[in-house]
């Protein structure tokens, strides 16, 4: 607790903003589905970091409880997402999201 508080809050905010922006850019730019997946995780964890920092600075444990929830949900989501990815790979022999363009008007 004291260790976290030793660093000013601004730094945390900045770091998580940068991490989040990297995640967003990754999702936008990369075409490999696995990388996009990792970028989504990056965004989630940027938010987690922010929450833990605020939680410590306000001396309120609720934020940390939420972080655990997010981690548990993220783990479940990864399990489902990766299995979908495997199915995509089996059917299309690729993980490039550009090939998944059949669903349109």
């Amino acid at each position: 607790m004291e260790v976290i508080k030793a660093i000013p809050l601004n730094h945390y905010i900045l770091l998580s903003a940068i991490l989040f922006a990297i995640g967003v850019m990754g999702v936008l730019v990369r075409r490999n589905a696995i990388i996009i997946f990792m970028c989504i995780e990056l965004m989630l964890n940027a938010v987690n970091l922010l929450m833990v920092a605020f939680s410590a600075h306000h001396g309120d444990g609720k934020g940390q409880v939420f972080v655990f929830f997010i981690m548990a949900v993220a783990a479940a989501e990864v399990a489902v997402g990766l299995s979908i990815l495997i199915m995509i790979h089996r059917n299309t022999e690729t993980t490039d999201v550009g090939f998944l363009n059949k669903l349109k008007f």
């Binding site: 999702v27 936008l28 550009g98 998944l100 349109k104």
Partner: protein
Amino acid sequence: MKELVWLVPVLPLIGFLIISLGKNYFSKSFAGILASVAVFAAFVISLGIFFEMNGSHGKAFTLVLFDWISTGDFKVNIAFLVDPLSSIMLLIITGIGFLIHLYSMGYMHDDEGYAKFFSYLNLFVFFMLLLVLGDNYLLMFAGWEGVGLASYLLIGFWFKNQSYNDAAKKAFIVNRIGDLGFVLGIILIYITFGSINYATVFGEAVNLTSNMPVITAITLLLFVGAMGKSAQIPLYTWLPDAMAGPTPVSALIHAATMVTAGVYMIARSNILYTLAPETLGVVAIVGAATAVFAATIGIFQNDIKKVLAYSTVSQLGYMFLALGVGAFTGGVFHLMTHAFFKALLFLGAGSVIHAMGGEQDIRKMGGLKKYIPVTYMTFLIGTIAISGIPPFSGFFSKDEILAHAFQVSPLLWGLGVLGSLMTTFYMFRLFFLTFFGAFRGTEDQKHHLHESPKTMTIPLIVLAVLAALGGFIGVPHVLGGNHWLEHFLAPVFKASEVFAHGHKLSHATEYILMAVTVILTIVFILFARNKFVSKSYVPSLDDSKLTFIPRLLTNKYYVDEFYNTIIVKPLNGLAGFTYKILELKVINLLVDSIGKLVVYISSVVRKVQSGNTGFYILAMVVSIVVILLINLFNK
């Protein structure tokens, strides 16, 4: 017994439900018996209620069954009001209703819609009982509409004939006009009194002063409703056409009960009408005018049922004349005696038609006296009763009305007597043409002539006894009676008594009036006898040779044609215009254009949906950023 009053309307309702839902599962004679038993049981209970009411000197009793509508201040119960007026109406409806059910078992015997007919009859009785039992205007209105529906179904009972269907529709539509007035009247009552309960409304009305404009408006609107239902000028045209229905229906609905609903309504609201003398004047004038007008048409009609129909319109006019001159008891008294003798006459006419194998034109009858003696005797009693020869029932009720009319205005009395004399003339014309002289039908018909079965003649005999003796419940003081009916109904009309005209006619005047009417009536009977029996005059079958006045009257003053020209045709024209211009050109164009617009826009916008995931995500991120920015700058 009073607590059982809810059974009175419910029994016919149960009969209706069982017959209409189960008519394919039991024999048709069972349907007739079930319907008659339901009404008879209701009659027995009504009888019990009546005697209890008579014993307790007219103490009113309200049975609240359950809440019907309850929103804010507006509360309506399903509740039944038992007082002298409704107990008398109960007896008339269930008593005559039962006799007519019995009669129908014979009359409708060979009809394919036998079970359906009885289910409709029971439905009618249910609604009619609801109408007279309700303790508020809305429940009365529910019954009012219900009897209209039953009347529509029964007029158009032989629906394969298009002109019968038209008659049914006409009855329904003309009644709508009246019903609109009735509804507006009820709304105005609610606005004025804050309630539509009889007890509350009449209780507050007693404290009002006479001649308030709002009361005049309420009573006039209610009277418009009565005009429609009770076939008064100018809304009477549906009733003669309603004769398209089977004859027992004409007897029950279009003579004895439903058409008197308007009279009942005004008698029930007597205090409101007493507070509005202008409306009473209108009621009296409309009543007297209808009585005379319809009677003149009756003189030249040749269809046995049409004559009786115009006679009904005319007699209803008398009831309204009675109400209009403040003789509420007289109106109800005439309602009752009229129910007896008019039901008798209609059923007698039905028996004649039955014997003639469906023929209704009196010019093709004649000499039926010896073939159908029971019908002949009972029809004679009915004819004498309606003409007002003492001591038959029609005399007492008509005399009471005429005496009160004289009190208010000798002119109204004169119109009343004139109508009464014409009634005598056309009724005896009908009677002589039907039963006297030589038979004018075909050989086939002559061979077929027979007296009706017992189920038809017994109701005739019972009604004949009632028509003959029914008047004794209202023998006036001047003739040494004590007018039982007036005392019985007094609690209902008590509030209006305060406003009644003080001066009474002297006994001498009353004797003279009675003598004048009776002597003139007898003169007219002899005149009719001379013309139709001694000289054996029979109206020509060929209508084209008539002179002006008979032609005018045969064609009923061309009122139907007049209404067609000034109302029906312009409305049809308007409907054609709105269809061709508004419907086809405007509305269709509007709807089609909106559809085309949507198709066009979507054909452009759907190009965005390309299937490229990266583009979707970019769009999402850009949108989120834009929303965040907007939020940021709005703070």
